[in-house]
Amino acid sequence: MSGARAILRVDGVSKRFGGVVALDNVSLEVEDGGIYGLIGPNGSGKTTLFNCITGVYKPDKGRVFFDGRDITGLQPHVIARLGVARTWQKVRPFRNIKVIDAVIAGGLLKTSSISEAGKIAEETLELVGVAREEWGKLGSEISLMEHKLVDLARAIATKPRLLLLDEIAAGLRPHEQERLAEVIRRVWRERGLTIIVVEHVMKFVMSLSRKIFVLHEGRLIAEGTPEEIASNPKVIEAYLGIKPA
């Protein structure tokens, strides 16, 4: 772990919407190659931070560095091309296209050949565990769990170095969450990505992450290993009202 370079560095990022401060001088560093957690109560700014990193929002203050390169305020597709992929909190349904076509669109980032992208799509779908029978189905015909897996596959098909998962476990039943956690671990092992998981559900994040960042009301209030975070009084106070599983 020592000597690993920071693949992502967020430096003093602030963002406000009208009178509401969503992010207040957030700074953090993520080292290459691990799984990290970003937690915090509702409205603490987790998704806003993701959006600032991936170019959907432009921070009012501060910079974002990916692999040493300043990506602050770049267009989302440019950032994606540099190697940052993400999934979305509200599952983005691709109702009228087939599962395989959605993932092929992801694969086309790195190749212009449809057949190449097709192979990448098949590999990725197998990696995340979507059954072959599902590949030809339309988005409107698959279950929520399947959607999440396909979303994940689509993001991985772009061959990213950093993967941001935004509340990917939301809406899933406990056994589905376990399956998803397994998939994420497998993806991490086989692809050597750095993954940041934003989550609400504590158990999910705790079991996966090597290090966790805690946001509260737009500020970073703690960072550390799962054990350190679980016993941190500031964190417990921020979470009063939310049950750690």
Binding site: T54, F94, I114
Partner: protein
Amino acid sequence: MELFNREILLALAIFEILVLGLGFALSGNSYLMLLAAQVLLFAVFVATWNIIGGLTGQLDLASSAYMALGGITTSLLWMRLGVPPLLGVFAGGAVAMGLAVLIGLPTFRFGVKEVWYALMTASLVVILNNLFRYTMGPWDFYLPSKWGLIYLRPRTYFELFLIIDVVLVIVILVNVYISNSKIGYYLRSIREDELASESIGIDTRSYKLRALAIYSFITGAAGFLQIVIYSSFSYRLFDTSLAISIAIMGIIGGLGSISGSIASAVIFRTLGEYLRSSLGGVFPGLDLLLYGIMLIIVGVLKPEGLAGLFNQVRRWLGK
């Protein structure tokens, strides 16, 4: 999946046989032959609209503006400068494309809601209608009495029908090519979800502009053929109801489906013509009313359109 696989070529061949058969059957009756040519041209515009509407999911309501702009450019180049329309249509397409892209550039920026494009395009037709009426006057301008392939003005309606058929085949092939290539995958992804598309590295604005350029160029070029059918043009060619009708056919057919677009265009345009000729005196706009009602029904009950219906029947038969 190869670009042009055997299934598609077979379907195209069968379609062509039917079209040509129809053409030969009607070649004796000039009213019906002209009607067939008009319906087929309408299908050309709907199938072209499929590129921006069906594949990319942008509700473009300006096809009659591009058609008129391109067609009038081509006509004026012929009438004022003697440029034969066979060449002039490319200029017509370019002018239409230029205006379309000018509108698309600010409107397709990431984050701008889709309604503004629909609004800009719908208003464009009205504005150009007023502008042309003001600058050109309310009169009809007739095409010169010169015939020949080089003027894209054949002596018989049957030959016109064939020319339009050739254009339709080209449009079908363009659609198939786009659909099965990288740009097609990207456009469909944009249609389904722009935000997610940006996240997988698609420059949504650039691809939307590409689709717009192709669609507006072809529409502008083919616009001259509409003027040939009328033998004249006026400010009335900038027709909002026509633009809306084309979009409606594209949606009823099923977004992204070439066969659906052509089927709905042919069926409803023919039906509409029947309504117009039989009841048009009593109730003008009855055909348009029918299109509007169909759109509401499809939108509320079956957004996948005719293509969705085909697929359901096919799956049901497969059982």
